[in-house]
């Protein structure tokens, strides 16, 4: 077992004990399905919408190079600087260059999981730059110096009391139980930073190829400020986020709002097409778009795993996953947690390192049914398992399954096996649940089911004669 897997088991075991935290998650996600379903009911035909969205994403990925070309040509024609980043460290280097060129000291950011993926903040801070997260949830986890707990709700694991204590500690604010007051404290703190920031940074939800636009959706308006107050703006986006046409957005935007946060439409939807034009009153003087690959084009070439690139990071699969609800976001120890993370992390960052995630799943398929773009997540996890078992499974496991196949395929072995197991079970209570119990992984928390002497096959034979 590698260290990541060991830590996963340890943290999952801690979460099993941590009823209070699991309750916070349960409350946070408890009403999710109900709220989402109400918004789904506003669609004329939700299943058809999913199918269409999936098809558009597929089409878009099949023509990815052409779409990217169209996107970048349009953006460039309006004065946007395009950067291609093959890896995460390329992104950090590109951003650092821009900051240095602009003699910047402070960069203000809105929510971007892609920047988490490349560990941007750490790289910038190491070089002496100040980075401030402006999304409320991200602001909170940044103060706590921890990664986001959930790809859409970064601070969902915290109660308002914890947030109040945190603000009191770090921002010297008065303790309060009122969520609105807490929001105001954060806003006040951020206000001066927007003004001081030399560079604004945003993530993006879609990139529209035919018109050359970057689509950002958010609920707090902070992203708009990041894109309008500082003189220089940077957007980081994974290459898979390109959609072919502007006319696809009327499907994707409400869909994302519906499954992401049970809203008809997110509060702020902005399209960026380039830097400020002469006749425009506001906007950045310089606009940079960084397109990140980081393993995506490798996935794009794989006809099975290309499907994963349809993901629009809505978080829906996390919200319904019983594993996520049981172990929480940080236990995954991965930028992308939950079902999508379990599929994606090993594929992007190493099968060996993240292999445990493919097995940490009961194959309940709730994620697949929740995914708006119909990624068959549970089946991809199964596919991961197939690859992993042929490469990494311990010898005894392989042997055990070979033995089981032989047992199942020979009626005599099978009936003998059942009888022997029955005898074995008579002695089992002596060690049941203890450390020397070979079935301890089951019996430590569960009673073993009782084998019967007369199996169904026996009863059936008797019944027939």
């Amino acid at each position: 077992m590698n260290n990541l897997a060991k830590k996963f088991h340890q943290d999952a075991a801690h979460m099993a004990e941590n009823v209070a935290l699991r309750n916070v998650i349960a409350t946070g996600l408890g009403k999710y399905a109900e709220g989402r379903d109400k918004k789904i009911a506003d669609f004329q035909d939700w299943q058809k919408a999913r199918e269409t969205a999936s098809q558009i994403k597929r089409e878009s990925l099949n023509n990815l190079p052409q779409n990217i070309q169209q996107l970048t040509e349009k953006l460039t024609s309006r004065g946007t600087h395009i950067h291609f980043a093959a890896t995460g460290s390329d992104v950090c280097r590109i951003v650092l260059n821009i900051l240095r060129q602009k003699k910047a000291k402070l960069m203000i950011k809105s929510k971007s999981m892609t920047s988490e993926e490349v560990h941007l903040n750490k790289a910038l801070e190491k070089e002496g730059f100040k980075v401030v997260e402006s999304d409320l949830g991200e602001f909170i986890v940044q103060l706590r110096q921890e990664p986001p707990y959930h790809i859409v709700f970064p601070a969902m694991h915290l109660t308002r009391y914890q947030i109040s204590d945190l603000f009191h500690d770090k921002l010297n604010s008065q303790p309060t139980e009122n969520p609105e007051t807490l929001t105001m404290i954060a806003r006040q703190n951020l206000r001066s930073q927007y003004i001081q920031a030399d560079v604004g940074f945003t993530g993006a939800n879609f990139a529209v190829a035919d018109t050359g636009m970057i689509s950002v959706t958010e609920n707090e308006g902070n992203s708009r400020l990041c894109g309008s107050l500082p003189k220089t703006m940077i957007t980081l986006i994974g290459i898979e986020k390109v959609i072919p046409r502007l006319e696809d957005l009327p499907l994707f935007l409400p869909m994302l709002a519906t499954v992401g946060a049970a809203q008809n439409l997110t509060a702020y939807n902005t399209l960026y097409s380039g830097p400020k034009r002469p006749e425009e009153p506001d906007g950045p003087e310089e606009y940079h778009v960084i397109l990140l690959d980081n393993g995506r084009s490798r996935l794009q070439k794989d006809p099975v795993y290309r499907e994963v690139l349809k993901c629009m990071r809505c978080g829906s699969c996390l919200n319904v996953c019983p594993i996520y609800k049981s172990v929480g976001g940080h236990t995954y120890n991965a930028t992308y947690s939950g079902p999508i993370g379990s599929v994606l992390m090993p594929k992007l960052f190493g099968m060996a390192a993240y292999k445990h995630l493919s097995f940490a799943c009961s194959l309940c398929c709730a994620c697949r049914d929740a995914c708006p773009v119909k990624i068959d997540l549970s089946h991809l996890l199964l596919k991961n398992r197939e690859t992993l078992s042929s490469q990494f499974a311990p010898k005894y496991e392989k042997l055990a399954f070979k033995g089981m196949s032989a047992l199942f395929n020979h009626p005599l072995f099978w009936s003998l096996g059942k009888k022997l197991a029955w005898i074995g079970q008579k002695l089992h209570p002596l060690i049941e649940g203890s450390a020397i119990d070979p079935a301890q992984c089951w019996t430590a928390t569960r009673k073993a089911p009782k084998l019967v002497w007369h199996s169904f096959k026996d009863l059936w034979k008797k019944y027939k004669s």
Binding site: H9, A12, A13, M15, A16, R22, A33, P322, I323, K325, S326, V327, F359, A360, C361, S362, L363, C364, C365, A366, R368, D369, L382, N384, R385, E386, T387, L388, S389, S390, A393, E397, K398, F401, K402, M404, S405, L407, F408, N409, P411, W414, A421, G433, C441, W442, A444, T445, R446, K447, P449, L451, V452, H454, S455, F456, K457, L459, W460, Y463
Partner: protein, 238 residues
């Protein structure tokens, strides 16, 4: 009609009574039942753990034995899903492909077979209790079985069904329960909590593997809830 009842490994070894009751239900409806004595398992444990060659070794025998049967019925949603959904994939581009698809077409989960295929919903059963129903995930999401067991229960005299707050996995997941007992147990606990909140006396399911998991947890922790397979309720006339 001639119904082939395939009782998968754990029903054969742990819950033979359930399969015998299924035999009786079909015979009472005037059908002829046969049991493939040479088969023990559908191959799902190996398949779900990623050992697809070993799964194929078991599954190919099932296909050869049952591909030309009239109807194959299993008292388990997850084993049915294995045959219906995954055999065709497992044997795609192999000489067994066609037979695998044929088999998938005439394989049914028990409650689905009664309601959707035989169009039987009232078996004249009596069961005096308040129960809650646990949907096995594969039956529910791979085969779309939700209404069928509820339809059957609605005709059982004396039975009151109270639904749980949410539909959620019980945490079994085959080898998952052994590889990640800490997570599996947490999920099972939350399932039992939800069931207890309904005030029901029994958790009913159409999947014995889920019931085995729930039973094991409840027994170890001395939590007072009974578990019973849907077939036992349908065969009851107390």
């Amino acid at each position: 009609m001639r119904i082939t009842l395939f009782a998968p490994c754990f029903i054969d070894a742990l819950y033979p009574g359930i399969a015998m009751k299924a035999v009786k239900i079909f015979e009472n409806l005037g059908h002829q039942v046969n049991v493939p004595e040479e088969l023990a398992c559908c191959g799902q444990p190996a398949f779900n753990t990623g050992h697809w060659d070993e799964a194929r070794a078991v599954a190919s025998k099932v296909i050869e034995s049952l591909w030309d049967a009239e109807a194959v019925v299993l008292p388990s949603g997850s084993c049915t899903a294995m045959i219906r959904k995954f055999y065709p994939e497992l044997f795609a581009e192999s000489p067994l492909s066609e037979k695998a698809c044929r088999l998938a077409e005439h394989t049914w989960e028990f409650s689905d077979f009664l309601v959707s295929h035989l169009k039987v919903t009232d078996l004249g059963a009596v069961f005096n209790a308040t129960v809650t129903f646990h949907d096995g995930c594969h039956g529910l999401r791979e085969l779309g079985i939700y209404q069928q067991p509820r339809e059957l229960m609605s005709h059982v005299k004396g039975l009151t069904l109270v639904e749980m707050e949410a539909i959620q996995c019980c945490g079994f997941g085959g080898t998952f329960s052994a590889k990640f007992p800490e997570i599996s147990t947490t999920m099972g606990d939350s399932k039992i909590n939800m069931a207890l909140e309904t005030g029901a006396e029994y958790i009913v399911s159409n999947d014995s593997s889920c019931l085995m998991h729930i039973r094991g947890l409840a027994d170890k922790q001395h939590r007072h809830i009974k578990t019973i397979h849907l077939i036992e309720i349908l065969a009851s006339n107390e």
